[in-house]
């Protein structure tokens, strides 16, 4: 660790202070914001479904529906299920009730994402989001000939991302390794199948059927919208923890972690993407992955304002703040996926958490 224990404690207190200040300030504007996003999402959804009746407008219909699904899953679903809007007391925006337009049942996702990933962020062997159990995303994952297919697996995961996320909870890799029993998955299977049936019925049977002779066009359009959402979500999410310079941690160094150390790990284990307002909205503000990991339950619309303070704090403590434009972060992730497909060439580079070089925004 670069910081002394006292420094870490003070760092933690500064982060806690930001959190408290934002919590005390939550109110009408935050409520109006998320309601407005929901309204926009519903409008794009209805427009998308309706435009399939006009064959020449097919690309427009697909675009509308894609935007709807991206907003639903990211700025609304992901953030609502984090409990960011639970303080509003609105059942429609409650983390306990919200279900998203995605084949992964929200109940299971909340366990694997909110609990496992956000608690054990970037701890090898604990955080199952490192490679999602199928990819090699870190030097400290031992190489195996299976990983020669790393880029292919990554491509398939991107195309079928919502299915990957749903399957993620079944911990297939742990079953293969004998750490988990098939019987433990029974209840999960039922939940996934129920959700899959509902999603498939809507997108691949009912809405296409409602357009009569245009059935195949509508079916293809709905599948395309799901694909667009998959590709977009995969790319944004992979830029969150895998660009070069993002640190991973061993289980030993995270034992008996203090609050300050937890914040420190969240900060060094995440990376941001720079962009404009619309871009941040379409990423569900996961472009502020660092702020999201520091404060997962604060409304995401607050991340840009929080980011200014977090960067200032990082500069004072000499901590890396990993950010860059989408193409740079994506390029870095793609390079890592390909590089780690092969066995390590330089064994010396694999020592555990190295603080990232500060990257200019």
């Amino acid at each position: 660790m670069k910081l002394t224990k006292e420094e870490l404690d003070r760092f933690g207190e500064e982060m806690d202070a930001i959190r408290r200040r934002v919590l005390d300030d939550l109110g009408e504007e935050d409520a109006a914001y998320i309601r407005n996003v929901v309204k926009t999402q519903r409008a794009f959804e209805v427009a998308g479904r309706a435009l399939f009746y006009l064959p020449p407008a097919w690309p427009l219909a697909v675009a509308s529906l894609s935007i709807s699904k991206i907003l639903d899953n990211m700025e609304i679903g992901h953030n609502v299920m984090h409990g960011q809007y639970d303080w509003m007391g609105d059942p429609a925006l409650s983390s306990r009730m919200y279900e998203w337009d995605n084949v992964c049942p929200s109940e299971q996702w909340k366990y694997s994402h909110n609990y496992i990933h956000h608690t054990y962020t970037n701890i090898l062997g604990k955080d199952r989001d490192i490679g999602y159990g199928i990819l090699r995303m870190d030097e400290d994952q031992p190489w195996h000939p299976y990983y020669l297919g790393n880029p292919v697996y990554a491509f398939l995961l991107m195309v079928f991302f919502e299915w990957g996320v749903a399957m993620h909870d079944l911990e297939v890799e742990n079953i293969v390794a004998g750490r988990r029993k098939m019987s433990e998955n029974k209840a999960l299977h039922a939940g996934i199948m129920r959700k899959v049936k509902r999603q498939a019925l809507k997108d691949y049977v009912l809405f296409p059927a409602l357009t009569g002779p245009l059935f195949p066009m509508t079916l293809a359009g709905n599948a395309t919208a799901n694909l667009v959402r998959n590709i977009w979500a995969f790319n944004i999410i992979f830029c969150g923890h895998f660009p070069a310079g993002v640190a991973t941690f061993s289980q030993e160094e995270c034992e008996d972690e203090s609050r300050g150390q937890w914040y420190y790990r969240q900060l060094l284990g995440s990376a941001n993407i720079t962009g404009g307002k619309l871009f941040h909205l379409m990423t569900g503000n996961l472009s502020h992955q660092i702020e999201h990991h520091l404060f997962p339950d604060l409304p995401a619309r607050r991340y840009p304002e929080i980011a200014i303070e977090v960067r200032e704090i990082c500069e004072r403590y000499g901590l890396a703040y990993n950010t860059g434009p989408l193409r740079k972060q994506l390029g870095s992730v793609a390079a890592k996926i390909c590089r780690l497909a092969l066995p390590d060439r330089r064994r010396t580079t694999s020592d555990a958490p190295v603080a990232a070089e500060p990257v200019a925004a």
């Binding site: 929901v38 639970d86 509003m88 007391g89 429609a92 279900e99 337009d101 999603q199």
Partner: protein, 361 residues
């Protein structure tokens, strides 16, 4: 069948549910008009009328509400949970008795309430709600109702704002032109504080077998006691009685009836008696905190331990506070029933631990 009914049928159909999955049709209808709903119940405030306005005392008002077409009506004596969004953000729900006579699908209803100094919802409704304000409702609930076949003689006892459910009963009986005898006994602070004074005065003067007794013990009228009741209604213990009011009055009524099953009660706050047994250890599993069991409700003990569990009515009605008890015995302070089942979902506002108890909070 009217057009509205056909529309309702369609909106509640399985086909529409499948098309609007996972959000449900109400999440779309509300975007167009908050008074459109297929399942949920909401209401628009039609008018707010001051019933009692004594300087230096909290005012009492009657709100006339136009519910959505989903309102299934209520039986005289029932209550609703009413949620308001204060400053457009934090929805808070409280329970109010309906004061208007029994209603049918879509009928207007009234609630009558005192703006309690510490009551956020009641103060909002009395002081800030205006025609057009939309509130959230549940269907009518509660067993404190008149039977379909009304007995020859009924006795109604109420105190303060506890008059509302029995007022609904009285008005209902008048509308049904009930031929039997009604004894209506109400306790208020002073004649100035009398809710529905004009209407009750008219009822008293018109006779028709309704005896109205408005009592003000602070001004020298007799307190509620077995002797007084016996003088007013000889053999009162066998007369079907409905009583509603503050806890001390309810206790006096309960004592006067000595376990008679002619008595039906409605109270606003759970009685303090019969809570759990103090002693033992309370474990809040999610937060990792522990406390010594004081015998108070789990909700109160969790709050005392610095936790902020979700809650609504705090009287065992709304289920907002439902949490999972993993082990231990709890006693329901309303019914006195004890339960020791592991992994049980309980309402923490009306359950108190008996000895050791672990809860997921």
């Amino acid at each position: 069948m009217t057009l509205t009914q056909i529309g309702g049928r369609v909106l509640r159909s399985r086909a529409v549910a499948a098309l609007t999955s996972p959000h449900g049709v109400d999440r779309y209808l509300e975007q167009i008009n908050p008074m459109w709903a297929a399942h949920e119940v909401r209401a628009r405030v039609v008018s707010v009328a001051r019933e009692v306005d004594v300087a230096g005392h909290p005012p009492v008002a009657t709100l006339t509400l136009q519910p959505t077409s989903t309102w299934r009506g209520h039986r005289a004596g029932q209550h609703v949970q009413l949620g308001v969004e204060i400053d457009g953000a934090r929805r808070t729900t409280r329970v109010f008795s309906v004061s208007s006579p029994e209603s049918r699908t879509g009928d207007r209803i009234t609630i009558t309430l005192r703006a309690n100094p510490g009551g956020r919802v009641s103060r909002f409704l009395v002081e800030r709600a205006e025609p057009g304000t939309v509130v959230h409702l549940t269907q009518a609930q509660g067993d404190f109702v008149l039977p379909d076949r009304v007995p020859e003689h009924v006795l109604m006892i109420s105190g303060g704002s506890g008059i509302t459910p029995v007022m609904s009963m009285l008005r209902t009986l008048q509308r049904r032109t009930h031929r039997g005898r009604i004894t209506f006994l109400h306790y208020a602070q002073s004649p100035e504080h009398q809710i529905f004074a004009t209407e009750l005065d008219e009822v008293r003067r018109s006779g028709h077998g309704i005896d109205v007794h408005l009592l003000h013990p602070e001004l020298g009228d007799p307190n509620l006691s077995p002797a007084f009741l016996e003088r007013l209604v000889p053999g009162y213990r066998d007369v079907p009685t409905w009583a509603c009011g503050p806890a001390p009055m309810i206790e006096a009524v309960r004592a006067a009836y000595d376990g008679s099953d002619a008595l039906r009660l409605e109270y606003f706050k759970p009685p303090r008696t019969g809570s759990g047994a103090a002693g033992g250890e309370l474990v809040f599993e999610r937060s990792g905190r522990t406390a010594t069991n004081t015998g108070a409700s789990l909700l109160e003990q969790a709050e005392a331990a610095g936790l902020t569990p979700e809650f609504g009515c705090r009287m065992g009605i709304c289920f907002s506070c439902t949490s999972r008890k993993t082990e231990g015995t709890v006693r329901n302070v309303l019914t006195g029933a004890e339960s020791s089942l592991p992994d049980e979902d309980i309402q923490i506002c009306v359950n108190a631990p008996v000895g050791d108890c672990a809860i997921e909070l």
